[in-house]
Amino acid sequence: MGFLWYLTIRIGGALATVAVGSFLIFLIMKLAPGDPALAVLGESATPETIAAYHKEFGLDEPILVQFGIWAKMVLQGDLGKSIALAGKFPIKDLLATRLPITLFIGMYGLVIAVVISLIAGTAAALRHGKLTDTVATSIAVLGISMPDFWFSYVLILAFALSLDWFPSYGFTAPGESWIGAFHSGFLPALAIAAPMAGVFARILRASLLETARREYVTAARSYGFAAPFVFVHYVFRNAVIPFVTVLGLQVRYLLGGVVIIERVFGISGMGSLMVDAAFARDYPVVQACALTFLVGVLFVNLLVDIVCALLDPRRTR
């Protein structure tokens, strides 16, 4: 099986998952209790105005037809209009302002988590059983165990309110100022990164220690290769494969974290948008958000699979 064949299969699988996933998202939102017409028109709505509303938004058609209409629109780049938000915003425009913010915070957090875990996990494995290992492992457990909203408040208290190094609230979009984005996004990104860094560091440490016991590492030593060479090309090179796999699996938790963190730090990203829309029974917006998250997670998983396939020749060649 060649690499291109593997790539084709993986992309095909991802597309199929998007199709099934988007139908499920559509279905669940349809089955949810509450009539959007009532939410918009209020308690004083008459049966006639409700029926007229249903007709306008196609809510009286059969479910499959509704899904068909919606899917066709989505494929044409039209995500529909918000029901609840004043001015009936096109959802596309909403996403255009919200998505970059969440993407920025999410990637920022991911990069921080990866950098911290690479350093901590490698240090712990190299100093296995020593003080460095104990300290790094304990901090990792702390990072995993802390609830992210609580940790956010600790960060705000310490670095925003007491030290005044970072803003406690709000976010400067990267479109306005990159420096401002990195500065105002640091605390939220760190809050998202903490639990992930803990998981990543522990996975990397375990993977490094496990790989170091392999026969090929002893073989490398028997050729008289220098210790740093053996570590980089034999131990780390092979230990990083499970690390990248776990990284891909954690991205969906990243999304859950974004919803909470955006709330705590008052950031108007995808997470806030989705929560607000859900409370307003703004079905089209919730659908669009869920679809975006679905595509995002699948895209990252696809990316991770490709990286793993490049790193591990046993998967494709």
Binding site: E215, G224, N238
Partner: protein
């Protein structure tokens, strides 16, 4: 002995476990001469692998090795710093591993392995350095020497794409790159099928003749030992119980354990109706018998065997036996 490549006197190796050292190998005396194959034979858990690995200092960090002498061509291996010892590996000392599939970096092509070993060996001499420059051509020639005619194709492969036999041949080619003075092989044919095993054994014979080096061959298989080894050291529970020339040991085994090992190996060849086996099992290294370690399983055991461990006795013809039946040393 002036022709000794490796001289081991009173080697003991243990593993630190929860504050105390568990000794698994003790009182090992052996000598590997230039141009000979010494077989180190014993059942699983007898300490033969640990002996081989402790000579090359390849055991995990919790291993403790002590010896009165560990001499390799005039160099005291015991007093070498870690860095100096590393310089000996890949230039003068080599190891061939039990599982050829596991001995390759799974993320790298065969060509990568050859290139690295060639570059490493380049530090040994100007000739080696010259060959390291043309490592591709030299690799293809070496692979042909070990029975891989399409070396260029094999070099483009990843380890998992090759069979165990091919990988073991490639491992041998890697050893040939730096032409060591001592090779320690740890059951290198155990994971191969019978036909490939014979081919690889022949290859080892050729390799050893070509390099004229010392060869310590660790195995549990008496048949392989008979085919390959000039001399045999029989290990039991971490000690050598008998050592001598292969022919004499096979025709006239002295130690009761050697006799048992041979009887069980011969039983397979002659198809006797019952499989001969040695009753009992290896003693626990944490709870060794006070006298002879084989005494609990020995059919000749008597009171004096339990009193104290027997010493090695020279029984003539270059043979030594650790048993009271042959005197007290």
């Amino acid at each position: 002995m002036s022709d000794a490549t490796l001289t081991v006197r009173n080697l003991a190796t243990g593993f630190k476990m929860g504050g105390r050292v568990m000794n698994v190998v003790r009182e090992v005396n052996l000598e590997v001469r230039k141009g000979e194959v010494l077989g180190l034979i014993g059942e699983s858990g007898s300490g033969k692998t640990v002996t081989g690995m402790s000579i090359l200092r390849l055991l995990p960090d919790n291993a403790v090795t002590e010896a009165d002498t560990l001499d390799f061509l005039g160099t005291d291996l015991l007093s070498l710093s870690a860095e100096r010892f590393r310089e000996m590996r890949g230039t003068r000392l080599a190891m061939v591993f039990q599982d050829p599939v596991g001995a390759f970096n799974p993320s790298k092509k065969i060509s990568w392995h050859l290139k690295q070993v060639f570059e490493r060996a380049g530090t040994k001499s100007p000739e080696h350095a010259a060959r390291a420059k043309n490592w591709r051509q030299a690799s293809i020639k070496l692979l042909a020497d070990v029975g891989i005619p399409h070396g260029a194709n094999v070099m483009r492969q990843y380890p998992h794409q090759l069979s165990g036999g091919m990988l073991q041949r490639t491992l041998i080619a890697l050893v040939l790159v730096f032409e060591p003075d001592l090779i320690v092989a740890d059951e290198p044919t155990t994971n191969l099928d019978n036909i490939v095993e014979r081919q690889i054994l022949r290859l080892f014979r050729d390799l050893q003749k070509r390099l004229d080096c010392g060869f310590l061959y660790v195995t549990h298989d008496m048949t392989i030992a008979a085919m390959l080894c000039d001399r045999i050291a029989v290990m039991y529970a971490g000690s050598i119980v008998e050592i001598g020339p292969t022919k004499q040991i096979f025709s006239d085994p002295k130690h009761p354990y050697t006799q048992g090992l041979l009887a069980s190996a011969l039983a397979l060849d002659t198809k006797t109706e019952r499989l001969q086996e040695i009753p009992g099992e290896l003693p626990n290294p944490g709870n060794l018998p006070p006298g002879c370690l084989f005494e609990p399983r020995c059919k000749f055991a008597k009171a004096e065997c339990r009193a104290k461990p027997p010493a090695m006795t020279d029984v003539g013809g270059g043979r030594n036996v650790r048993c009271v039946l042959y005197g007290h040393g």
